[in-house]
């Protein structure tokens, strides 16, 4: 509470909070949810999963060609081997950027996103402009993110579904030969794994 006048007022629930409470009440009375499990889910997605997981996958792929091959063949299993598994039964597919092809991920349907490796999506990923423009004008979208690609680089747009989610493996930056996986992972931003960014150059 930041408002000093609040102290002598009654409690108020805003309408959305009251509505969610009503749903929780109904669902737990019917035995369909366990409030403790709901709290655990919130904690997981607020605090535990995030792009650091995906950065770990990319750094391993950059460091270990066998792992990279596995990731290309069966991303779901390769990613699970690092302890990151999806809870929606979705399959993962890793798409690798090359000097000829840049990959960009969108969900035109709603907001499907590889939660287990990137956490929950940023607001722009869920917005109508991104969802439609990433398909129609990917080059323009990339420029808005400050990514300018040569004209001869193809852009492949991957439309996520409830069953299949994509992870972009950005190109390894130059000058990173001696770096270990931790140092490499620090160069891998969330956006670089959606395709709206590139991996950063080492300092």
């Amino acid at each position: 509470m930041t408002n000093s006048h609040d102290h002598d007022h009654d409690n108020e629930l805003d309408p959305m909070t009251a509505r969610v409470r009503a749903l929780e009440t109904i669902l737990s009375e019917k035995g369909l949810i366990d409030p403790a499990a709901i709290d655990a889910i919130v904690d997981t997605y607020q605090n535990r999963v995030g792009p650091q997981n995906g950065a770990r996958v990319v750094a391993r792929a950059w460091s270990d060609t066998e792992f990279a091959d596995w990731l290309a063949r069966d991303a779901t299993a390769a990613i699970a081997s690092l302890g990151f598994t999806g809870r929606q039964g979705e399959h993962m597919h890793a798409v690798f950027n090359t000097p000829q092809t840049h990959n960009l991920v969108v969900c035109t349907l709603c907001s499907c996103y590889p939660w287990s490796v990137l956490g929950l999506p940023p607001v722009w990923y869920k917005s109508p402009p991104y969802r439609s423009r990433a398909v129609m004008d990917p080059r323009g979208v990339l420029e808005e993110f400050g990514v300018r690609l040569d004209k001869d680089v193809n852009i492949r747009v991957w439309d996520s579904t409830a069953e299949l989610r994509y992870l972009v493996v950005p190109m390894r930056p130059a000058g990173t030969d001696g770096l270990d996986e931790d140092a490499l992972a620090a160069l891998v931003s969330r956006d670089s794994m959606i395709g709206t960014g590139l991996a950063e150059a080492p300092e």
């Binding site: 409690n11 805003d14 709901i38 997605y45 499907c112 398909v135 409830a162």
Partner: protein, 120 residues
């Protein structure tokens, strides 16, 4: 591939510096209810994606994504209605009861549903 028919000419919303994926606590709760119900087997994830997509494609949805979790909540209510778990009217009535309970609860005390003066 059929993209959504809205938002085609409009700018992307700005990046928000706050790293929390939820702007308000109710959004996190609404999110977790869906994940929990799916884990419980109430629906397939594809079914959920269709329900959410239907809400996100309604006219008037905000370009900046700010009403995303309001859409999320409506999609959840739709699925709950289809599964005959609760009707919209039941949810309305109970939400009003929660609001009355909050209003009747002194500051510093936990808000409990039984504090609703019309039901106790």
């Amino acid at each position: 591939m059929s993209g959504p028919d809205r938002g085609a000419d409009r700018p992307l919303p700005p990046e928000i510096a706050d790293p929390s994926p939820f702007a308000e606590p109710w959004q996190a709760q609404a999110f977790a209810l869906v994940v929990g119900l799916h884990e419980r087997g109430l629906f397939e994830w594809g079914e959920w994606a269709q329900a959410l997509s239907a809400e996100l494609k309604r006219p008037g949805v905000a370009d900046d994504g700010s009403d995303y979790y309001a859409c999320w909540l409506r999609a959840l209510e739709t699925l709950i209605g289809e599964k005959q778990i609760a009707e919209g009217a039941d949810i309305d009535a109970l939400a009003e009861s929660w609001s009355r309970a909050a209003h009747a609860t002194p500051h510093g005390k936990p808000i409990l549903l039984e504090n609703d003066p019309l039901t106790s």
